[in-house]
Symmetry: C2
Subunit: 230 residues, 2 copies
């Protein structure tokens, strides 16, 4: 197994596989297996089959918990946006998994290492291997580092960002009035800054700033959520 | 909560919910919620969203484990056949869940209680509730009683039946020669019985009988699997 990958997983994600052969299998593309038949390797396709379902459940569970009042239809759309091929390919690249997959020469030369479908499968195969090795909780911890922060940052739906999350949290205890107030703006047109406060039932609960009114409101909501949690 | 449902779950499936409100929610259709707004109930749609993913993972895991040499493409097709609407509606009916769902009057009069989409959603919602209440292992135990035996009986793919399973098991330790031998047939044409033995590398490992050669072979394979396991 590539020592760089083992080191990276350990240092960045605190993951050490007890069954190293699973990790190896997750990073083995069928094109590599076909070119090295004498090694009798297994490719990552069956792990991808399993990992696909692991991801689906963990993302569903996260959305179910984090957005307790969002209706099913919206959750389903959001889930689909998160588990789609190009999203997962991005996650794989962000983890630099593309550097470690073993490809056959043909696949390598035709640019397989940057192909979204291949990277998406790799990400799912890794999750499948992680699930077998460390259970649902282990796979969940990994997604907490890589996927979930993107969801709450609104990467998949602007409706699921900090503002929506804050609304969710506050409305759990009944109807409330949430208001974003622009307090100040300054600087030249090309580099303007906006300051915003968020109020709940006329009480200030957070503040933030940003390069647009929208970003300032997001920052204020994030600030309110943070205060609310601590 | 309907006492009949509680009793049935306990006696037939050894399931007792610690959070009874989850079970209640799983058996509450949106049409019932809409007709009883003053009760401020929650319908089962969000639980269905979650349960759908629980089912997907548990079925995937089962297939991954039970068929260690079946390629990903075949597993994916089989999974799709198992989790499709009409299959899940049948499972819901088999558990008599249709008797217990709370429907609005309109939905009831238009035959909602027998509608496959509604029953499918109900089955998934129940699984979602069971997962929250008793974790993945609890949901898995339920599927072990209701869904998995159908898979190994070949209900979703004749290729995944006892004969295929036996082949899977035997081939794990290398190439083997499996042979089904018709030993005897008797009885009148309209009620004929066939006796079959299954041999592995010329050693008898199972026997069975049935109303056709095919059924007799399935019975012999099931017998061999049983002997192999004990």
């Amino acid at each position: 197994m590539d020592q760089g990958l083992l080191k990276k997983l350990k240092e960045e994600y605190r993951i050490t596989f007890s069954k190293g052969e699973l990790l190896e299998q997750a990073f083995t593309h069928s094109s590599y297996v076909n070119e090295h038949r004498y090694l009798q390797l297994s490719d990552n396709e069956r792990l991808e089959f399993l990992g696909d379902a692991v991801l689906e459940l963990l993302v569903s569970q996260f959305l179910y918990r984090e957005y307790p009042t969002v209706p099913e239809g919206k959750l389903t759309k959001l889930r689909a946006a998160i588990v789609r091929e190009d999203s997962l390919a991005k996650f794989a690249k962000e983890c630099h998994f593309d550097q470690y997959i073993r490809l056959g020469k043909g696949e390598e030369h035709s640019g397989g290492r940057t192909r979204p479908a291949l990277l998406c499968d790799l990400f799912e195969a890794f999750l499948g291997a992680l699930y077998i090795d460390q259970g649902l909780a282990g796979a969940d911890l990994f997604l907490e580092k890589i996927v979930f922060p993107k969801i709450t940052a609104g990467a998949f739906s602007h409706e699921m960002d900090h503002k929506t999350k804050l609304q969710e949290v506050l409305q759990q205890s009944g109807d409330v009035n949430i208001e974003y107030r622009l307090i100040k703006e300054e600087g030249p047109a090309h580099n303007r800054q906006f300051w915003t406060e968020v109020h709940c039932n006329d009480q200030k609960i957070g503040e933030g700033y940003g390069k647009s009114k929208k970003l300032a409101e997001q920052a204020a909501a994030a600030n309110a959520l943070e205060r609310n949690l601590h």
